[in-house]
Symmetry: C2
């Protein structure tokens, strides 16, 4: 639980009260026992069916209980144990997540009682019923989520209820502010602007941040970039940067690096910038829900908490991207702009070409290779990655009041082509802690399989979701050398039997998994020419 978070009791609903608000009541004494089961972000505790406490309290499997030990209280789901070998009669088994949160020793005394419903339950029910919520209702919900008071089922209910058209723009603003309020905030004293760049995701290989940060930092603007690791994708920026340098650094060290080099590329997970978002992701991921309101609140709350004042936001548009029509892209753009204006952040939204993966590699080492090829100005560096990074970096540079509107691209290109971006990147890598990585000869996974064209023609479409899935099944991002290397992109001619892409995997099992899915549908469409539909429907800025 974040320090200083209020355990507020909203008293509008009479039945509800905050955990611990009531008198102590009966205090059954149990002993803690670490059970060594990883239940991810779900708190689970275990009690024997014949434990006297189970009988006395009338506990049933899946009941929500409140566990208190050494002054800490958490909520958890109860699993009832029938096997006497697992637990002693008066032991409470703790899953890894609850063990960490309670921070007790084996055998420590603890008490268990029926959990009161989370204080914000009435607000959740109103939202499920389709009603509009006020700022303080979002605050109550987000506090409960950050404090792990919602069950998986309640989280899923919140995510679905706020999906799609269920939140108006003021509600998105309230949700964003509520998410900022429960997390830590970073400050960059005497620095203005503090710039950042973010992409809403969904496009494999889209590693522009690793080019934009050195370009912008080389210009002297502050760009303290924190990124996530992959959630549903084959690599996040933090996974790819991890190939080149240490990314898990204490905040004080990051601050020094940014002071000296104007930029960093670090993993943002340690900072607890948006603890409620971290919890929500655990249900958004399995449902693959990316509701506009949640997306905006999630991204902007993290950027505000990170202390950014100016943000360039990349919304890729394409038939297999997250955003699939220009109408949808424009609506999302306006929603981002509305919330950003009301929280005092300068925002430049750019709708980009999301019809296919960016660059060639999909997977941490393959993507790191692409980035280094561009930084070093290699002749065969992926042109689309270079071009996209330059254009976005240009938009970031134009936050500089001394730069004329429209001059950003040329300046970004100068900084890249002159080698200054490469030198800045080298300095950032050295400061974070460089890793061995020969990008000219990257250590890729040993097992490979090439997927070939079934007919001759021109590549007319590449399915981003399908390629992501294949790269993940091959082992990315956990296996850093695994993934997919694209040998053809949209518009490239291909003969029948020629390879479209190569799958890399560490183990036979993983290779076979990925191969099986690629065999069922390769994710490539080969036709006679780029289809008209794609040209008319998707006309992003670049």
């Amino acid at each position: 639980m974040p320090a200083g978070m209020p355990l507020a009791d909203d008293r509008r609903h009479p039945v509800v009260s905050a955990p611990n608000a009531s008198a102590a009541g009966p205090a059954p004494n149990l002993q803690a026992r670490r059970i060594g089961i990883d239940t991810y972000r779900e708190n689970v505790v275990y009690l024997r069916r014949d434990c006297p406490v189970v009988r006395a309290e009338g506990f049933q499997a899946l009941a929500k209980v409140e566990v208190t030990a050494g002054g800490r209280t958490i909520l958890a789901v109860l699993n009832v144990v029938d096997d006497q070998r697992l637990l002693g009669e008066c032991e409470l088994g703790l899953s890894e997540e609850t063990w960490t949160q309670l921070a007790v020793a084996d055998g420590a005394p603890l008490t268990v009682r029926h959990a009161e419903p989370p204080p914000s339950m009435w607000a959740l029910k109103r939202k499920i019923g389709g009603e509009r919520l006020a700022a303080e209702e979002f605050a109550a919900i987000v506090r409960d989520i950050a404090a792990h008071r919602y069950s998986k089922i309640e989280l899923a209910a919140f995510v679905v209820a706020t999906d799609q058209f269920a939140l108006d723009r003021d509600e998105v603003l309230y949700l964003t502010q509520a998410m900022v309020d429960v997390g830590q905030r970073l400050a960059w004293p005497q620095q203005h602007p503090v710039v950042d760049k973010h992409c809403i995701g969904g496009i494999p290989g889209n590693r522009t941040s690793m080019l934009i940060v050195p370009i912008v930092a080389a210009h002297g603007m502050l760009i303290p970039k924190t990124s996530s690791r992959a959630i549903t994708s084959p690599a996040g920026t933090a996974d790819t940067m991890d190939v080149l340098a240490e990314v898990e650094l204490p905040f004080e060290r990051l601050r020094e690096i940014v002071r000296e080099h104007h930029g960093c590329l670090a993993w943002g997970g340690r900072a607890a910038l948006s603890p409620a978002d971290d919890v929500l992701i655990s249900v958004e991921r399995p449902l693959s829900i990316d509701a506009p309101g949640q997306l905006v609140a999630s991204i902007l709350s993290k950027k505000i908490a990170a202390g950014s004042t100016h943000l360039v936001l990349d919304i890729p548009l394409g038939p297999t991207a997250k955003v699939r029509s220009m109408v949808q892209a424009q609506r999302l753009k306006k929603l981002f702009e509305y919330v950003a204006r009301h929280v005092g952040m300068t925002l430049d939204v750019v709708i980009t070409d999301g019809r296919q993966p960016v660059g060639r590699g999909i997977g941490p080492r393959l993507e790191a290779r692409d980035v280094m090829q561009v930084l070093h100005g290699e002749a065969d560096a992926p042109a689309d990655l270079r071009n996209k990074a330059l254009r976005l970096a240009g938009r970031v540079l134009e936050f500089d009041p001394d730069l004329r509107g429209g001059d950003g691209f040329a300046l970004a290109r100068d900084i890249l082509d002159s080698g200054r971006a490469r030198l800045t990147m080298a300095a950032i890598i050295a400061a974070q802690g460089a890793r061995e990585f020969d990008w000219r000869n990257p250590p890729l996974a040993a097992m490979t399989h090439e997927v070939t064209a079934g007919e001759a023609g021109v590549v007319t479409a590449i399915d981003c979701e399908r390629l992501s899935r294949i790269a993940r099944l091959a082992g990315a991002p956990n296996a850093a050398g695994a993934g997919v290397d694209l040998l053809r992109k949209i518009g490239d001619p291909v003969a029948c039997g020629e390879p479209l892409y190569r799958i890399y995997a560490d183990t036979m099992a993983e290779l076979q998994f990925a191969r099986e899915v690629a065999t069922r549908a390769s994710g490539f469409r080969v036709g006679q020419e780029p289809e008209a539909e794609a040209a008319s429907e998707f006309a992003p800025e670049f």
Copy 2:
């Protein structure tokens, strides 16, 4: 999984395929190990983190996996085990639910692989997105739910997405039909009509079925009543009947009893009439969601499956009932009528007074006492329970084509007052297997606490939800003698310090729990006279 349920593969969405549809792939061999953890209706399996299969397949905690053993395949959520004492390196731990479903022996070989998404996932996503679904889409979703292919999170998503205004009346019809199609169906050859009575729930003490069944059966109409046990309430009809007689009977025995006595009062859980509904309840319960569409589909699908042709449906209306305004009650009534007409069921919906609990007792033995008092014509039997049961029984009797509309109530009263209903009930109890129960001196729980009025006046309101909660905390329905006995009802005068109700509990812990909640808010309002609001807003038929 119900026999004969098709494992259909809906091919509209290219990424999705039915489990087992793809080539066998790698077949990691693991040994089954019963883990003895009760995860209620959620399938959970356990694997050690250092198990070679975990590494090879890239499994992560909470991954969805497909487990196959001896020709059976189930889906489950994976918990990763770090404690080497729990499992051998190549053992797959099975929770009680999965152990039962797979029906393997300890040490039996089984294989585990990444689960494909359920075939209906695309339809679920469309519903989450607010789109209208067709009949075959509901069929696909309900098949997956009945086959345990949905995770808790996916179930919650479906329940919330179909909540409130999200289903139109044809969609409710499709959902109802889909739920009938995946379950068993009972047949009553050569019997017409087969009548039933059902209440949507929410009112404690509302045990009219135990009076209506003997009245209607005594008239010679077939009323094979199956009821549920309590889900969120302090007692279901099956729990209360269980005080008087055996309720878990094989279907063939029930058929004999109904042939001889025209009625029965049995637990419906064994018949698997609506397996999808049984699964959905596991998430509706913790969310306390009772969406109109789900309510209609759940109730009507069970009645159709039970072979009923005619149904009287009780919708209680009150400020703490499930339905809280006449507009809402009328809307729900029309939705029930629409679906019933299209599935060929004769339906009579009655909106009743749901402003307070019915009768005096709340909890199995207390309610059984009330019922027996009415059956035996005791002078101090609860008049509201008697009156409501007579009116509803009258409406059921009017399904008899030989009875004139409006004559039902008088006939029901004759059957009750003549003692014929009591004799029929005695016959049914004997046939099902009578239990010892001295209703004149019921064996109630030993610990009691009286909740008293804080001021003098007249009882103006009783909170059904609050009283249910207090009775449950006191131990009902698991402790059959526990619960709440109401000593005052709406309109009754009370002096300051006089008791409003008495709590019964088996243990001190339970008594204290219930008492604590009652002390915070008793659930009774005492004022000067029944408030005008209640009279105008709630004007049900009776």
